[in-house]
Symmetry: D2
Subunit: 371 residues, 4 copies
């Protein structure tokens, strides 16, 4: 019999739905060393959290996350709440000795993120941050290729994450457009993914020169005619230098009509190039210089030999967005079993946040800022 | 409380895994009128079916499908066995008054398919055939557009389904390459999907001119050096005429290197064209003639307003192969609740088989054959 | 000093413009063994042919092609007239001992084509047919790769040539829609290109099963309200078998909205696949099986090492439609210098026409027809 | 009779070949108001310039450009020499009262460019700079669409120009890698094109934050083993702000394997987006928000109604790189006839250079720099 681990999830919105699906599905496809039990989901609104428990498959629900964290029978705390709540919840979970899986961004501020990392390290608990795009099979394959030297020494990283959900100036001023709730706009929400992929695939970033822009400076409050100021960025751009001599750029914008989830990167090295676009997440474009008949090769990353794919369907039968969370949870469970810290973890979350912070500082100082 | 319906699934290989996932997941995403219960899975090998029950999420297992069909507490029989078993199982299920969901092709022969349809009609049971690609949101959207007249009168249907899993001449002579087990090769396995989509999107086919080809005429038996003859087609092609005046072609081949699951169709009408490719199943290319600045528009079919997508993730977060089965099961459950026969059903299965049969006849007679 | 060869061109419409450009440009880019002189252009309308001579760069003009063919100072006759005139003109040119370059299709009927080949062979003159798409660098590269065995034994040829210029049912009944002037519709005009590429890349075709379809059966006469019948095909499709065991299909249609010049082929062999589309004529997609990280490679065929490209611009600077004619003329001039028959020539033109003829016969007989 | 204008071209390398082709071809396709005569080509090496005159179609050649500029019978001076010679030649041509067409970049330094503009304005001569990519039909169409408000208020410009011709560290230190000859590396050579397109399509740039990078700091001298330092940038990146509130980025790199001539831009506005890539220069991708069934539309920009295309071939028959120069020369000749300054001209050249200069300054100062 496999050891059972009880999971409590805090929050049940978009991310909560994605995480719940991951917990439900992971054991049906992967051979797990330990068995997660979907014990309890927490939320503030009793009826809503009760409904969520039922539709998402949790045994119990609770409106008091603190009490849940204190329960002896809970092993893993999965934090899916808005960014403003992460620090308090993660620190409490760490103090209670729980494994902590936290949605990105780690904290709402750099200071929070530092406290969070300190808490998990002080309490020696296993911690993970959910940068799920590392777990797209094509991205993991890109990492393998780079590590094997397929594209040689890396010169360029070009990360662009574009969406269009707030292009309409009458789109309401929801919580994701409030700095106090979410920390920043496109920067923390999507450019942070491009930055995480940069660190994962290329290496540590040493300095940045960034800019932030809010095109639509006030929007109606939800369900109202009243206008309220927008205090987060619609778009964030930054140039960057890497420790290993590579240079790069990242951009996040929610004001790019037609781009739904265009999380694209291009990496150019001395021997080849790699391109990925989340909108076609089952493909990886790879160029290796082999003379005049070279060309960008569109690898359909669905083979059983590709990362994670042996668990799924025969070659050519694609997976989707939700599967990246399943792979993340799988990595966490393996790490728990092996009593090690999985990757990416709070260290990555903190480093990511330091880069976000440097971009904000640079946007203000109008100069390059070191991380 | 929702009414509960107990499901028994026969077979647990590739299709069984996909169907199990559908039964497990459907209630977590769709608001169902009735609640399916994954009661029992059937198979011949006791240990294997026991393991399958556990990993796929079935309450019980059985090695005797006949007894399961006789059980009063079973409401739905889901047939995922190889084609040779479909007729006997579906007829038994119909005789027992069960709802029958059957994988394609309906029977291994036209005669079997006719008996199967007769059985479900005679017993007045609800029946459905799993042509899951109708339930790709992009394909359902194509259907809606065509029905609304967006591309006008249809002139051309061009269906091509290419794979490459048996290109290697030393790939073994598995059951899918034995006529007695599977009826035909690429024709019934994949060209049949192109034919179903032709019927779904364009209309009834009246005559065909087909050809079959086996390039590799003998292969090693699995796990052996001994060669055995291949008696199914590696590739099947056919020209066709539709009742409504359109003309078309379909092709299925398992000998197309690089094509993993290239189920593509192009439809040209008097006002526009539509192109779909399963390898990029979250996209639909649509051309509507609007003057010189017209162009093929790549619609990312992931909006909540698109078919089935409101149940899933925000726009831009793609779904995969497995989701088509979830949509199929959802359609079945709605039909059961509304006491009607869903679509596609055994009538579609039989018509499909009549077309396959005419292609075989035409390949032999070397002339056009009527359906 | 290079030997000079005087060229006379018959016809000056679309093809005449393309050929004139080729004669004008070839010497500025290629190192020619002989020097063509654009001596005289022929046409029936004196003012129009005079204007054409000036704008296209011909020294003289004439309204009497017979007299021009008789001139001793003329070396090369380039036939760019509608199909109905080809036979008479080519035979006269051959009788006069001239080099003959003829636009496709060779004749308007199979009988004409046979007489034309007989005439050039009887008179031992150099002859060439302008199947210019063989001279797209990417297509020539495909030929080289196939000849080197890169994709192994060929299984499938899939040729599709789609246009949309007559989709509008009120598009007038121009000469290209009259059988007496042009022989056939989409079949001879565009499917014939797919057939030529099939022969060039795969090999000889032994039998066909074809169909022809006219969707819009009457159209207004040009500049008139009066309707006239359309007696050529809007679309032509055929299945085919090759001498070497490959199978294939070709399709030509002028009723495919959005497809401007979609001359696409896909070839699948035992080791790989090749795809070309004239709409992106500077690219060739090639798949070579190299294990799970294989993928269709998009070769940008613009390198100096690629066919014909050393004559043009640095890598990455594309060429267009007109350049295929320049390459054709270059091949003709080389052959003249080397006193040999270039490729493709009237033999190819005749074989092409035999295939077109078999498709017409098959469309009538509703059975397979041998070439 | 049309007025004849005698042209003298200085330089005959890559750009000289492209310009010569333009002068030769323009009158055969466009209805010109004046007739250019290819009178004389200038170069330092007598045999080489003599050969160039013959192969490129110039009546005469000269090794003394100063004398040619002084000739009364010369009307237009076309400067195709390396950047270091532009200033002296253009100023001399202006002083002599000639029309001046100058390859980009205008001068090798900002100071030179300012003197050049002053010279043409002081002498009231017609002047033009050859930013030929404005004359790609798809780019001109993009400009029309933006001017018509199709994509609304512009938010983002994203220009990327990638090549790979010096990726090999043993590629020699040619003149294009010497600052004294060429001014800068990727910045002036290719990023300058992205900047010109930014100004053409979006508007004036007010400030930049740039970086320059040389990855391979020494290379062998041509034909030698001796290494020499590289003092120009391999890659240049910059963030930018536009006068109209848009923000953007440009990047030029010659170190991107697989990118041959990847001159791509994406523009996002409040109502839509436009994407162009020179590697597929006959296409323009346009997204206009029309609700959930919107998508990026791939416009094949080859219709007679599209910019410049009426002069060429029927819809669907593409043009190439060289045609952009023909369109440039056509614009110059129209402007001469209408006695006005064409666009882009030395004002554009100077503004472009001011931006390049600000990027260099910013790369040094590590802060934003105003133009």
């Amino acid at each position: 019999m496999k050891k059972k681990l009880n999971v409590a999830m805090l929050g049940y919105q978009f991310m909560g739905r994605a995480h719940s699906n991951a917990w439900r599905q992971v054991g049906h496809f992967f051979d797990l060393p330990v068995e997660p039990v979907m014990k309890v989901v927490c939320g503030r609104n009793e009826q809503a959290v009760k409904d969520a428990a039922e539709s998402l498959g949790w045994e119990e629900y609770s409106t008091d996350w603190r009490k849940v964290i204190e329960r002896d029978d809970i092993d893993i705390i999965d934090i899916c709440t808005p960014g403003e709540a992460h620090a308090e919840q993660a620190i409490a979970a760490a103090e209670a000795g729980k494994v902590v899986l936290c949605e990105k961004p780690l904290g709402n501020t750099l200071a929070e993120a530092e406290e969070m990392l300190a808490a998990v390290e002080r309490n020696k608990v296993i911690h993970m941050i959910c940068h799920n795009y590392r777990r797209v099979p094509a991205v993991t394959l890109a990492k393998q290729m780079i590590d094997e030297g397929s594209i040689g020494r890396i010169y360029h990283y070009r990360g662009t994450y574009l969406q269009d959900w707030i292009v309409d100036p009458m789109f309401p001023r929801v919580w994701r457009l409030e700095k106090s709730k979410t920390g920043s706009g496109a920067l923390g929400d999507i450019a942070s993914h491009s930055i995480d992929l940069a660190r994962y695939l290329v290496g540590e970033i040493t300095e940045v020169s960034g800019m932030l822009k809010t095109f639509v400076t006030e929007r109606p409050l939800p369900g109202s005619d009243e206008m309220a100021p927008v205090d987060v960025d619609d778009a964030a751009l930054s140039l960057m230098r890497f420790e290993n001599g590579a240079i790069g750029s990242v951009e996040g914008s929610r004001m790019a009509p037609g781009r739904k989830n265009y999380n694209r990167f291009e990496i150019n090295g001395s021997r080849g190039s790699i391109v990925f676009n989340l909108e076609r997440m089952n493909e990886l474009e790879v160029y290796i210089d082999e003379g005049p008949n070279s060309g960008f090769k569109d690898i359909y990353v669905t083979d059983p030999s590709h990362p994670y794919f042996a668990a799924w369907w025969p070659a050519g039968h694609i997976i989707g967005y939700e599967h990246t969370f399943i792979h993340t949870v799988y990595e966490l469970l393996k790490a728990i079993d092996e009593e090690r810290i999985p990757s990416p973890n709070f260290v990555d979350g903190l480093r990511n946040q330091r880069i976000l912070d440097a971009i904000v500082r640079s946007a203000e100082s109008r100069t390059w800022e070191s991380i």
